[in-house]
Structures are given as structure tokens and as C-alpha cells.
């Protein structure tokens, strides 16, 4: 049985290889060296993956960095908040004055994932995958996934709110522009602020500023929180040799908030520890 099946499989494979080699040869000897736009469109129609060759190289893994403003660059302005959110912000700033550093208490400490846009500036790296009509962002923190549809289809009507929201994107030359809405109102739109309305809309412009530095300009619009759109920039360093690792927050978390929502620290051994 085995003796008959294997040769047939080999013959089939060789024939297939020969056929595809013939096909490749006929394309490579085509008279026109530069394919016409119509030919390119036809090629993309037959092979949607052909469009990926036009996209910039965002390979590797990207780690958000500590980058001071460069000469000629303005520092990020303070956000302008509506009164209720200004109150939250003032409380956070007072804490920062008393003890500089990490004073922002959020449910992320209890393993509730950060939402867009804060999920993009966690202390762990992110990576980009390009497939036809879609960019996928994989975030190491909490193993989050963002699906950004770039096929030109409109965003769905009234999507359910989610941590990473609903995203559509388009390419403006080498810049990916991402529009995100339907972000869960319990998430943080900016450090120091917990919560926002269901109207929060986030625009991200993502592009390379040098071969190994990615800049993401993030604009938040939510009339319930911000008096005017609030924009920040974050920079990411490329690490071609890094791999995204598994991140299961519940494995051994000692930092869940207490019953009053304050920062806490448990000294009890955890089953996953």
C-alpha cells in the first residue's frame, strides 16, 4: 500500500512544481519590465498578499521608550479637562507632587486590561502583523490583540464596547492612520484619569521617524472628559531580536486593588506562584 501511494504523491508534487516553475518563467520573461497599474491591480486581485510589498518594514518588536522632546519639538501640553475630570486630575497631580513617580491607581493592577489608547504604552513591547486588508497589533501586556481593518469597509454600526474598541485604518503613504471607537467607558483615556464616556474616539498616526524608531501620535476626543482634543506622542524602539512572551496577569498577582479601590500589596503565597 505504502509503496504505491508514495510514488504517486511524488509524481503529483513534481508535476505541480514543474507547472508552477513554468508559470513563474512566463511571468519573468514578460515583455513589459514595469507592470502597468492595471496589471498591478489584476495581480492584487489574484493575490491579495501582493499589496503587502508596498507597506513599510515594521518587523521586529517595539518597546516604548523614554524620549525627551528633541530640539524644536514642543513638550506635550497638559490636558484641558471638564470640571469633574479636572478634579480627578488635580488629585493625581497632588499625589505626584508628594511622591513623584507611579501614583496612578487603576484596575490594571487587578488584572483588568488597559484599553485603547493606554494599552499601547505599557512597559512591555508590541508587534505589528500585516495581512491583506488588516493590521494586527499584538501587545505583550495581558496578551492583548488589536484588529485594525484597512480594507476600506466602514466600521460596524453600534458595535459592543470593548477594551481595545473597534478600529478601522488606512495608509497615507507610510503612515498608518487608525480610528478607534466603542471603547469600554471603565478604561483610562490618559494616565491619571479613570473612565470616560461612550463617545471616546481615538486617532493614532503611526510612522517611522528613523529606521528603528516608530512614532505614534495619539489624539483623544471625548467632550465629557476633554475640553479640546488631547494629543500625545510616544516613541518605540525596534528590537529585531526580541520575541513577544506570554503574559498571564492572574498567574501570580499580588497587587490587586483593595475593596476601596486603593493600591494594595498581598504577602500571601499564590497558587500560581
Amino acid at each position: 500500500m505504502r509503496r504505491t501511494v508514495v510514488p504517486v504523491a511524488w509524481v503529483t508534487a513534481i508535476c505541480a512544481a514543474l507547472l508552477s516553475a513554468c508559470g513563474a518563467q512566463s511571468v519573468s520573461t514578460a515583455p513589459s519590465p514595469a507592470p502597468s497599474p492595471a496589471a498591478a491591480a489584476a495581480s492584487e486581485a489574484s493575490n491579495p498578499y501582493a499589496m503587502l510589498a508596498k507597506l513599510p518594514d515594521w518587523g521586529g518588536v517595539w518597546d516604548v521608550t523614554f524620549r525627551p522632546p528633541q530640539p524644536g519639538e514642543a513638550a506635550a501640553p497638559a490636558p484641558k479637562f471638564t470640571p469633574p475630570y479636572q478634579k480627578q486630575w488635580d488629585k493625581y497631580q497632588a499625589l505626584n507632587k508628594k511622591q513623584p513617580g507611579l501614583n496612578f491607581v487603576s484596575e490594571v493592577a487587578s488584572c483588568i486590561p488597559p484599553g485603547v489608547p493606554q494599552s499601547m504604552t505599557q512597559p512591555y513591547p508590541i508587534e505589528f502583523l500585516f495581512t491583506p486588508g488588516r493590521v494586527t497589533i499584538l501587545i505583550e501586556t495581558e496578551g492583548l490583540t488589536r484588529r485594525i481593518y484597512t480594507d476600506g469597509s466602514p466600521p460596524p454600526e453600534n458595535p459592543d464596547p470593548s477594551f481595545q474598541g473597534t478600529s478601522v485604518g488606512h495608509w497615507e503613504n507610510d503612515t498608518l492612520v487608525v480610528e478607534t471607537s466603542a471603547i469600554l467607558p471603565q478604561t483610562s483615556p490618559v494616565n491619571g484619569i479613570n473612565g470616560h464616556s461612550d463617545k471616546l474616539h481615538v486617532t493614532e498616526r503611526i510612522h517611522l521617524v528613523d529606521p528603528n524608531t516608530l512614532e505614534i501620535t495619539t489624539t483623544r476626543v471625548d467632550p465629557a472628559v476633554f475640553v479640546e482634543p488631547y494629543t500625545t506622542k510616544a516613541y518605540y524602539k525596534r528590537h529585531r531580536d526580541w520575541k513577544i512572551m506570554e503574559y498571564v496577569c492572574e498567574q501570580n498577582n499580588h497587587d490587586a486593588l483593595d475593596a476601596n479601590g486603593n493600591a494594595a500589596f498581598s504577602l500571601k503565597h499564590k497558587p500560581g506562584g
Binding site: F66, G101, T121
Partner: protein, 132 residues
Amino acid sequence: MKLGNGLRVAAICAATLAVGDSAMAHHSTAMFEWGTEKTLSGTIERYEWTQPHTFIWLTVPGKQGKTREWGLEGMSPSWLGRRGWSLHSLSVGDKVAIVYYPLKDGRPGGFYVRVTGPDGKTLEALPTRNQR
């Protein structure tokens, strides 16, 4: 490039505003005396190479032959693993000296900053000034 102190603080403030506090850990550090370095010597009882944080459980000798267990949280395996640490950096029974930021409430715990192992080598466990 040498920045004046004022300029450095301004640059750090601006960068913090741009990136945010999340550039350190998945939680606030309000429970620790962040930045106040203390030293502790003891024996590794457990070394948990886990998410979202690594943990060192240390047996520390006390008065009259008694010992006390300390719990010290550290950065995540993914963060440390990219900066020279591994699951095998510390072993049960190792005698170590640990620099840590203590808990504010006085319980025997904190956040580990650097660890000197039995071989005298020191591993940094937080970003130093020139990192990142």
C-alpha cells in the same frame, strides 16, 4: 550631551507626560517607599519567575535564632529576561543581599532593585539612569 538638572527634570516630566507612569509596572507604586533603598540579607526560599511580577521569598535571620519570611516583588520575567536575568538567576538556598524599596506599612515586603548573589555578582532589576 550633558543636561542641567533643571532641564533634565523638565525633560523627564515631558517624557512622563507623553508616555505616562505605565512605563514602569502594571500597577501604582503607592504601597512602597519608592526610591528609598534598604538592604536585606537572607536565604532564597522561593524564586517565582511569574507574570505579572517575579517574586523573591527570602528567609531572613532574626533575634534568638528565629527567622522571618520576606516577600519582595520585582519586574516581570519578560522585562528581566531581556536584561540579563533568567529563571536560573537565583536558586533556592542561595545566600543573597538584596537592595529593595520597602513597604510603607512596615510589613516584611517590598520591591527588589538589585540582587547580589553568592558569587558576588550583582544583577540590576530596575531601569538604571542610562537604560530605556
